[in-house]
């Protein structure tokens, strides 16, 4: 996750409280989604950004996971996401996300 986004997530967590925040990812593959999820839960694994060593433990989902899909208007989802759903390995992404959530998420 780039340094600017790490800073934004950190600022939002301080402003609204980490228990009130959900991070929604749109990464195109499992490994990248997992790295971003790890960053906002266990801290920046590259130790380069503002979240290095900061364990926010935020609730984090990928937009293609069923839990998120259920929250979105079906028409909007079709228009904005459905094409990418065909392209992405959704199962791989969902596995990666749930393993990170199980290990590090503090607010489930």
């Amino acid at each position: 996750m780039d340094l600017e986004n790490q800073k934004r997530v950190k600022d939002f967590a301080e402003k609204y409280g980490p228990e009130n925040l959900v991070v929604i990812l749109g990464a195109a593959e499992g490994e990248a989604a997992g790295l971003a999820a790890e960053t906002v839960t266990a801290g920046d694994p590259t130790f380069a950004g503002p979240l290095a060593g900061v364990q926010l433990g935020l609730t984090v989902y990928h937009i293609c996971e069923d839990e998120m899909k259920a929250e979105v208007d079906a028409g909007v989802y079709d228009e904005q996401i459905s094409m990418m759903e065909m392209v992405m390995d959704v199962d791989d992404i969902a596995n990666e996300m749930s393993s990170i959530r199980n290990d590090y998420c503090k607010y489930l």
Partner: protein, 517 residues
């Protein structure tokens, strides 16, 4: 003008610069500031390739035209542990230059006496460059002016804010700052700009040598790299195009720079094609050098996974776009895709704007295009870095939109990727991979009758400049020449026009018989 602007020729070049990876790539220079004792910086030198290995690297041989895109597609992944048989630095479309010669070219391109090379190093380089037959005697003579001793060069770097040029980590030259205060003329910026100029010049000269372009015929040159040239009062004033064309000997040309991040080359081709279609100029060259900043950009992942540093070369390319010659592949100036401000960022809207909207407007389907050339990043570089296979992702998106539109069956996505796509071979130098690496091979394939229609797609991440959250893209279709330059628009044969011409010829003939002038 009847017909369409045509792809007259293309050149592609690389300069393998392992020492610049360490000293000028931003991943490494950032690490040197943030974490100077890091394991990565210690391990990095052991992962740099030899020049011979970089030459034999199959994606590089595809880039300069000694291997075809199909050869890479039939190579088992990964590519870094394989070599192209009979690999050569000299390619059909250009060449791969070693670092020492490239430093010599940088000095030839420096017209403000900013570059100093160590005297014996310069003499050696002059001999090697002379054998390449790229520059005139007068240009090569610049290398004779070096009187610098190793001590003098060390002093420039240590005391005068100069940037060092290294060979095997030994200091062999320096680039001085061009102003005491102005950061836009600092040694760092001057090095970046001279590198992009030098790699641009090599590509322009190779366009002359390999594609048979007559330099004096070129009317206009458009540079589309991602650097900015200017001083504190006009930081991006330009003009790399004219500066590079001057050294390459395009004496009858002027030019300008077009910018659009990675989409720059596709925009520049549209500008060039429009200038030719309008009849403003007959021959326009689109050209760009590469960038030092992106050297070793994904180096941390490559080192961590035991790979060589694959981002070890400065790239360049040049393409000549000319008035219709009735033979060369045509750029369809009437089938243009563009990501507009209102398009939004949802991938399906983006692919719609760039691919299906322009095709539908021209009465074409997705499958009517034989090959798509989006961002042609080499997956050998991007996959180990967690960025996936970029061209493949683009092909899947195009196919998925085709499924949504009912032009493809869902089960056909994989075969679409194979049949209408290509394995990426371009170095990850930002603008360099963006659609245009295919223009050279495409011209050959079209002339050989192997490919009839292709779409070139350039995309750019405008948000990196923090001026807008938008990104951008444009696309265009290239097709086999339809002969429309000789006939009516697109018809190939306009009977009425021919009758008129014959009638006029008969009248002229009759006048001649009657003795009238």
């Amino acid at each position: 003008m009847n017909g369409y602007p045509v792809l007259k020729g293309a050149s592609y070049t690389l300069a393998v610069t392992p020492d610049m990876v360490i000293h000028n790539g931003t991943t490494q220079t950032t690490e040197q500031i943030v974490n100077p004792d890091s394991e990565y910086l210690k391990e990095l030198p052991g992962h740099l390739r030899s020049f011979e290995d970089a030459v034999a690297y199959i994606p590089n041989q595809v880039y300069i035209g000694n291997a075809k895109p199909a050869d890479l597609a039939s190579t088992e992944f990964p590519f870094y542990d394989k070599k192209w048989p009979n690999a050569s630095r000299d390619g059909k479309y250009g060449q791969i230059m070693p670092q020492d010669e490239f430093y010599g070219v940088i000095q030839i391109c420096d017209v403000f006496d900013l570059v100093n090379l160590e005297k014996s190093f310069a003499a050696e380089v002059k001999g090697k460059l002379a054998a390449q037959n790229l520059f005139t005697e007068a240009q090569l003579a610049v290398l004779d002016k070096n009187e610098s001793t190793p001590e003098a060069i060390t002093a420039l770097v240590n005391d005068e804010h100069a940037e060092g040029l290294y060979m095997n980590n030994k200091l062999v030259g320096a680039i001085k700052r061009a102003h005491d205060v102005d950061v836009n003329l600092s040694a760092h910026v001057m090095l970046e700009n001279l590198v992009t100029k030098a790699s641009n010049v090599i590509s322009l000269i190779e366009l002359v040598k390999k594609a048979g372009v007559a330099p004096e015929e070129v009317d206009y040159v458009i540079d589309c790299c991602e650097e900015a040239c200017g001083d504190m009062n006009q930081r991006g004033g330009g003009n790399f195009a004219k500066a590079a064309a001057e050294i390459a000997g395009f004496t009858n040309a002027t030019g300008s720079d077009v910018r659009g991040f990675c989409a720059g080359p596709a925009h520049a081709v549209l500008h060039a094609a429009a200038l030719v279609k309008a009849g403003t100029f007959k021959h326009v060259v689109v050209t760009a050098g590469g960038c030092t900043a992106k050297l070793g950009m994904n180096g941390k992942d490559h080192v961590k996974k035991g790979l060589p540093i694959l981002e070890d070369a400065i790239a360049g390319f040049s393409v000549m776009i000319s008035e219709d010659d009735g033979v060369s592949p045509q750029i369809r100036t009437d089938i243009i895709g563009r990501h507009t401000i209102g398009t939004g960022s949802a991938p399906q809207n983006v692919i719609g704007a760039l691919v299906t909207n322009p095709l539908e407007a021209a009465g074409l389907k997705i499958l009517d295009i034989d090959k798509y050339s989006p961002e042609m990043q080499n997956p050998d570089i991007t996959k180990p870095a967690g960025a996936g296979d970029v061209p493949e992702a683009n092909y899947k998106m195009i196919a998925a939109l085709g499924v949504k539109k009912g032009e493809l069956a869902r089960g056909d996505i994989a075969s679409f990727v194979k049949d209408h796509g290509m394995t990426g071979w371009a170095p990850t130098q930002g603008h360099i991979p963006s659609g245009v690496p295919y223009l050279g091979p495409l011209r050959d394939e079209v002339l050989a009758g192997e490919t009839k229609k292709a779409m070139i797609i350039g995309k750019g991440s405008l948000f990196l400049g923090r001026m807008t959250n938008l990104f951008d893209g444009v696309s265009f279709v290239v097709q086999a020449n339809d002969g429309s330059a000789q006939g009516g628009q697109g018809a190939g044969f306009d009977e009425a026009a021919v009758k008129t011409m014959i009638g006029q010829a008969m009248r002229d003939f009759a006048k001649g018989l009657l003795g009238e002038e």
